[in-house]
């Protein structure tokens, strides 16, 4: 077995592996979007976050503009606080914007739906660290069913 062949084949092996890593990074894990550019942080308080998780998407009309960075419980009023990290390129949302927790499809995963508000004079843009005031919680199926039964009971 000659030396050159060994080196060549090991070289091929290394190149194949680099190819595999690139495939996994770019095509499978889509490394580019998660790490692309700077982000700024917004906070939102919800009554109930349902099945929202860290790294869930933040979307405006289906376009991903950021991800959930962390979920904590506010120690004073015991409501969940969601930290959103939003790509810097989308930094002109007005203060009147609202967020809600939505579900993609019937059984799909939950994401944060971002509803940009109207930009009128006197309304400033959201800045790093701001709290979104207008939030809608996740729909919890059990609550819905409970409400439905309750309403039916009243109407009869």
């Amino acid at each position: 077995m000659n030396k050159y062949r060994v080196e060549l084949m090991v070289g091929v092996f290394v190149l194949l592996t680099i190819g595999a890593v690139l495939l996994l990074a770019l095509k499978v894990a889509n490394q580019t979007i998660t790490n692309q550019g700077d982000t700024y942080t917004l906070f939102a308080k919800f009554d109930n976050i349902g099945g929202l998780k860290t790294r869930s998407a933040v979307k405006v009309g289906g376009v991903i503009i950021g991800r959930v960075a962390s979920i904590k419980l506010d120690q004073e009023d015991f409501t969940p606080v969601v930290e959103l990290s939003i790509l810097q390129e989308y930094n002109e949302f007005p203060e009147t914007s609202s967020v809600s927790i939505l579900t993609s499809g019937l059984l799909g995963e939950q994401y944060v739906g971002f509803q940009p508000g109207f930009a009128i004079d006197g309304v400033e843009d959201l800045k790093d660290g701001d709290y979104l005031q207008d939030t809608k919680s996740a729909l919890v199926l059990e609550d819905l069913i409970g409400q439905f039964l309750f309403n039916r009971g009243k109407s009869e």
């Binding site: 060994v6 080196e7 084949m9 090991v10 091929v12 092996f13 290394v14 194949l16 592996t17 190819g19 595999a20 890593v21 495939l23 996994l24 990074a25 095509k27 499978v28 894990a29 889509n30 490394q31 979007i33 998660t34 998780k53 790294r55 998407a57 991903i64 059984l107």
Partner: protein
């Protein structure tokens, strides 16, 4: 009394073997590296890595294809066949890639390492090295250990990558899942750090364990044909069990708590 005595003897000999294994590893790892040994390592990467490529690639391809087939028949009942991509990718990256690679590696390369070193011992090649004032730990053990350590994570990555392509082949090209959703849902679900890197870390741990067991079994075997065959069997059995056991521990540590 005899049974207790035998148990005691056995326990003590196990501890002694563990001690010898540790000493061997330290002797090999802390040997002063020399340029010559780099080439020896490259040559061993050829033997344990490149020569395992075929079995790894073929297995990876078929496992990816089978998973797509199985996953599709289940997911399509819920109308969730778009989730086929993440299912295939996550199972491969987190579990099957590192684990199956380690098991195949133990069978393909580990047993060969044990038999080779065992035979070198039986034919007095190791003794002969020592008498030539060449440390067999540095000359024989260290290059093989490093080669195993380097090769296995590479093989595991290739296994996962070709498995995902195999899943694409069956899921998208044959069963008609939308190619765009196969990739895009995979992309939004798979996290590079959490899934890919953790898989590589797993694979690295398995590489240490399997290569260590394989080399030690060869180095410590009774130098007869019977001893070598026993050592080779033990390599495959012990490293497979160690891989599966460690996999549970590592999975619990990495993915257990969200």
């Amino acid at each position: 009394m005899n049974a207790i005595h035998a148990l005691g003897v056995k326990t003590i000999s196990r501890f002694a073997a563990a001690g010898r294994a540790a000493l061997m590893l330290f002797g090999a790892l802390f040997a002063i590296p020399r340029m010559k040994n780099v080439y020896l390592t490259v040559k061993q990467i050829y033997v344990v890595g490149v020569q395992s490529l075929l079995i790894i690639l073929v297995s990876g391809l078929f496992i990816g294809m089978v998973m797509a087939l199985q996953g599709y028949t289940i997911l399509v009942d819920y109308g969730a066949e778009a989730s086929l991509g993440p299912m295939v990718a996550l199972s491969l990256l987190r579990e099957l890639g590192p684990v199956v690679t380690a098991l195949l590696f133990a069978g393909r390369a580990g047993s060969a390492l044990t038999a080779e070193i065992g035979l070198m011992k039986a034919t007095e090649q190791l003794s002969s090295l020592e008498m030539m004032a060449v440390d067999p730990l540095r000359r024989v053990v260290a290059p093989r250990f490093w080669a195993g350590l380097i090769s296995m994570p590479m093989l595991a990555l290739l296994f996962s990558a070709i498995g995902i392509l195999g899943g694409h082949l069956v899921g998208v090209d044959w069963l008609g899942v939308d190619s765009g959703s196969y990739w895009s849902i995979m992309q939004s679900t798979v996290d590079f750090d959490k899934d890919v890197i953790n898989g590589v870390i797993k694979s690295l741990v398995f590489a240490i364990v399997v290569t260590w067991i394989a080399i030690f079994k060869g180095y410590d075997c009774i130098p007869t044909s019977e001893g070598i065959s026993k050592a080779t069997t033990e390599t495959v059995v012990f490293s497979s069990l160690a891989v599966l056991g460690l996999d549970f521990v590592l999975t619990a540590l990495m993915f257990g708590i969200e």
